[in-house]
Subunit: 301 residues, 2 copies
């Protein structure tokens, strides 16, 4: 198959629909004495989102021959976990954002207390979905344990929460390259890497495949972050849908601000090539992951 | 063995030391770019605490013949999860408490953003500990999955978070018995019940033992909550260490305020008897659970 022929747009749209339907089915219904917290969970999960992380789980699993059906609970878990991080990041004590994807943030609608609780509940629900016996009976228990461990490591203080903490602690400071890398890697790449890795683990991949796919996901995650920073400088704000130049205004240290825009572009391209070369041993089953990697660099929004 | 002879004080003190040492060893060290969030995690976990939930895991496991060694990771996970709930409950947007157990609350020391993140990290770390391959290799993977699922269900929107949400949503309102029961059961009893159940699951208990021990834990949890409400009316504040009568001042609906103090006492006693009778098939290995149940009712603080 000619890689140029792969219909990424169609692929992403199909998988997104699949994930959205599963989330709709599995998220708790807003009934009972705690209904508003469940409503808040559903509101934030339903408020748009490209479903990148869950799609990476499905695409990672596909490389090792797994069906979407097998991986959907983990894919939904990953999206719940990602949504929790957005809800908490938006809180007044954190980034204090009123809007996300053009809609009021969770705490603007439900108040701070329920937003904190909805985030807590979504994080917890991710682990419930990962281990729900009714949804995971076809997966070897060892593999479920391992996937839960990978998810927790990538999400917690040694991963995403650590990155968010470092970001907050260094706000307004001129940070060194090492700190910038720590923040980029932990805030974004850790969870993207874990997504592909979890797909490979639950999908039944061998050790070598799992390691390759984790490394692909980490390279992809870093490239994604650098490209975001480049778009904030060079992007067309009509295409991106939000004002550009915000990093510069906030005096935020980014990869381009530290190393220059050309070096940033070269680094992103290097990471893309690394990601693609990691997929070399895999056949056409890795085509979605190849197309996603190219898209991350080529996109203009 | 005569039950009267069981040295509960010695038992609790020995287990508490064991748990405190393991927490000290396993909690992330406050190093690296995200050091303050790890420091906040350690601060709150280390700020006292009777370690009731983790001790219930050890005691529940002992009934089915498991060693403390096998159950310590799950016991520490439970304490991390409990601590996360305290940190988030104390936040300004929630109960807005400056002190807990006589010490400044997490957000008073580290600020709100880091307190939210420390809570998130502790909740996530609980699932990391439960599935850490270096610590859990002696447990059947099926049992670990099941314990993770029980923990998530008891902690999330269908358990503790649901109870906390219902409590906040009904603040200042005159609630019906049904709502009060929902809040009591979900906020406190769910996690206490899960603790004993998780001990039985990971300890290798049979299905019947697991169900009995879960029901014991739930009865214990409800009795504990009712006794707390009774102490707030009849307790000696010099013994309790905090002012009594706060429920009445806050016009909080409690079991005694709804049904009268005598009915509340009778209900607590009924739950104690239920808890003890559930332990009937077990021999002296259930002595700690029997003594804990009696203590919950007899205590004067």
């Amino acid at each position: 198959m000619n890689p140029k022929e792969f219909d990424l747009k169609g692929y992403l749209s199909t998988k997104r629909t699949l994930i959205d339907r599963a989330l709709e089915r599995w998220l708790p219904y807003a009934v009972g004495h705690a209904a508003p917290v469940k409503e808040a969970m559903r509101y934030s999960v339903g408020a748009g989102g490209k479903r990148v992380r869950p799609i990476l789980i499905l695409a990672g699993g596909q490389v090792v021959g797994a069906s979407d059906h097998l991986l959907l609970p983990a894919a939904c878990a990953m999206e719940c976990l990602h949504t929790y991080s957005l809800i908490h990041d938006d809180l007044p004590a954190m980034d204090n954002d009123d809007l996300r994807r053009g809609k009021p943030t969770c705490h603007k609608i439900f108040g701070e207390a329920l937003a904190i609780l909805a985030g807590d509940a979504l994080l917890t629900f991710a682990f419930e979905l990962m281990t729900n016996p009714e949804l995971t009976s076809e997966i070897q228990p060892e593999r479920i344990n391992r996937a839960v461990f990978v998810l927790a490591r990538a999400a917690g203080e040694s991963g995403m929460v650590g990155g968010q903490a470092a970001d907050i602690l260094n706000e307004g400071k001129t940070v060194e390259a090492q700190v910038l890398h720590y923040i980029h890697y932990h805030k974004t790449a850790a969870l993207l890497g874990a997504s592909v890795e979890i797909g490979a683990i639950l999908g039944g991949g061998c050790e070598e495949d799992i390691i390759r796919l984790r490394r692909y996901g980490q390279a992809l995650g870093l490239a994604f972050q650098i490209k975001d920073d480049i778009l904030d400088i060079e992007g067309d704000q009509n295409v991106i849908g939000k004002p550009t130049g915000s990093d510069a205004r906030q005096k935020k240290v980014t990869y381009p601000s530290l190393f220059g825009i050309e070096t940033a572009k070269a680094k992103a391209l290097e990471l893309l090539n690394e990601a693609i070369s990691l997929l070399e041993p895999f056949n056409h089953k890795a085509e979605p992951l190849r197309a996603i990697a190219r898209y991350v660099i080529d996109r203009n929004r």
